[in-house]
Amino acid sequence: MSVSRDRTDKLREFLQLLCGHGMGLTGLIIILVFLATALFAPFLGCVDPGRSGEFANILLPPSSQFWFGTDDLARDIWSQTLYGSRVSLTVGILAAFITVVTGTLVGLIAGFYGKWIEEVLMRIVDFFMMLPELPLMIVLAAVLGPSLWNIVLVVSIVSWPTTTRVVRSQVLSLKERPFVEASRCIGAGNPTLMFGEILPNVVPLMFAQAVLMITEAIYAEAVLSFLGLGDPTRISWGSMLHFAFESGVMARALWWVIPPIASIVALIVSFSLLGTAVSDILEPGYKETKGF
């Protein structure tokens, strides 16, 4: 009981600190706006973003009927932009989740057991970190076929080693601390030590990594879709730019290009801001400077 009370208190304190952090708050608000448009897209004047319209409605500039205009297949750009946030956020959050969970688990095992287990795991990590990320993602996405889930998978496969490296070095120092030693002395087994004692102390780090990974995953999805590896059944900001670029008429249809670019940049910037805020707050001593 007291443990869970302690955690909710910590979470509340964390949120309070975040709201007091100018950059963090700005980022959080923009993210929440995108989250809202993703959730409520059908109620915000959206039509089916993938449905082609009538011939007369091709490449129309913004108007009262089409708020952001239409593309070369007479599809509504406002709807595409709003639905696009679903793809970015889904890929971002899912890939970050998988990456951080996998990365933490491997880092925990490597750091805790040491010896040959650590040696083998860290060589694998080194190998992945040496490979150029984007080409590897392109190759995997091309081979697996274009779909949203494959993009999530591909981004996760390429990104987990970063988290492993960070978590491992944290675990190396944590396992030497007295509280782990004390727990071992009263007979705690390895699983208890790893998940009961060390893991809770890695959680803040996981959180910071997750925000970073979301940013990278959103970026990766946008690039892959722009290169034509996006999910053909779901319009994303990257694939909007892909179609605009391929159409050859994007110079005459700025309304087609500006919304996806602005959205990508806004979402990435706001997650970067949030990331900066989170790492600031987790820095030891930050709380004291804010009078907590």
């Binding site: 040496m130 150029p132 080409p135 190759v139 946008a222 994007m250 110079a251 940049v265």
Partner: protein, 325 residues
Amino acid sequence: MTGLHWFALRKGVAAFLTIIAILCANFVIFRIAPGDPIRMMFRDPRVSAQQLQAMKEKFGLDKSLGGQFIAYMKGLSRGDLGLSFSHRRPVAEVVAKRIPQTLLLVVTALCVAVVLGVALGALAGWRSGTRFDTIVLTLSLTMYSIPTFSLGIILLLIFAYHLAVFPLGGIVTPASGFTGIAYARDVLWHMLLPAFSIVIWYIGEYVLLTRSSMIDVMGKEYIITAKAKGLKELGILKNHALRNALLPVVTITGVNLGFAVAGVIEAETVFSWPGVGRLVYEAVSKRDYPLLQGVFLLFAVSVVLANLVIDLIYGYIDPRIKVRG
């Protein structure tokens, strides 16, 4: 053997093993693809069974997996990367033709980014907390968040379409017949926008890194000593602070090469720059797997080799490695 020799040997062996692992991974990746590769290539249902069989034999897919692996390794040792579907020529030949253009673009962009980034970062770190520092920091963070291809599209729309001061793409004006200086000027004019979009993204990294490294160094005792001796400020910046602040910058250049590849693929795609990066885009849109495989191999192996070179340079300039090995 001195410490430096051991260090070089260890790094060399590690790089060699990594390259072997990359070659194996490259083989595996293209065989985990769901479905029959030949069927994927020729989706036309009219292709007869005999024709499919002949295709399988041509690409060596009739052999067992082990046999395929041996054939793949043998081919690689001869510099044979297979046949490109879309170009109908050896992959190695197609890729090799694109390398000089990419090198020109990457090396130019990297040099500009490193020089400008280090200079701006060092000044910002030297004067940390001032308005100059804040502006540089904010700009770097923002620029760092704009994907290269988005920035490329913006630049293309503004400077090539609407203002028409730069070309829409390519490396030279077609059928212009330029030679000598005029040719070089034409290439430079074509290179400006793609290089700029890579530089902008890349520069942020160098600014942030040099800045924090500089702030770190500025707190060291030898800087205080130098100030106490009454040395000129600029002299301290140049001879005492910057020299030491640059060590981590050298390391990060190696780490960043992998990211530089991403910038190249995006910029070359947007500006139709006829390099290896644009080849990735072409291979993807034509589902030309052998070509994609070849380009991936080239990128991965060159990143490993470049890292090896940087490690060796680092070993040479960092005296601690000479002693410890």
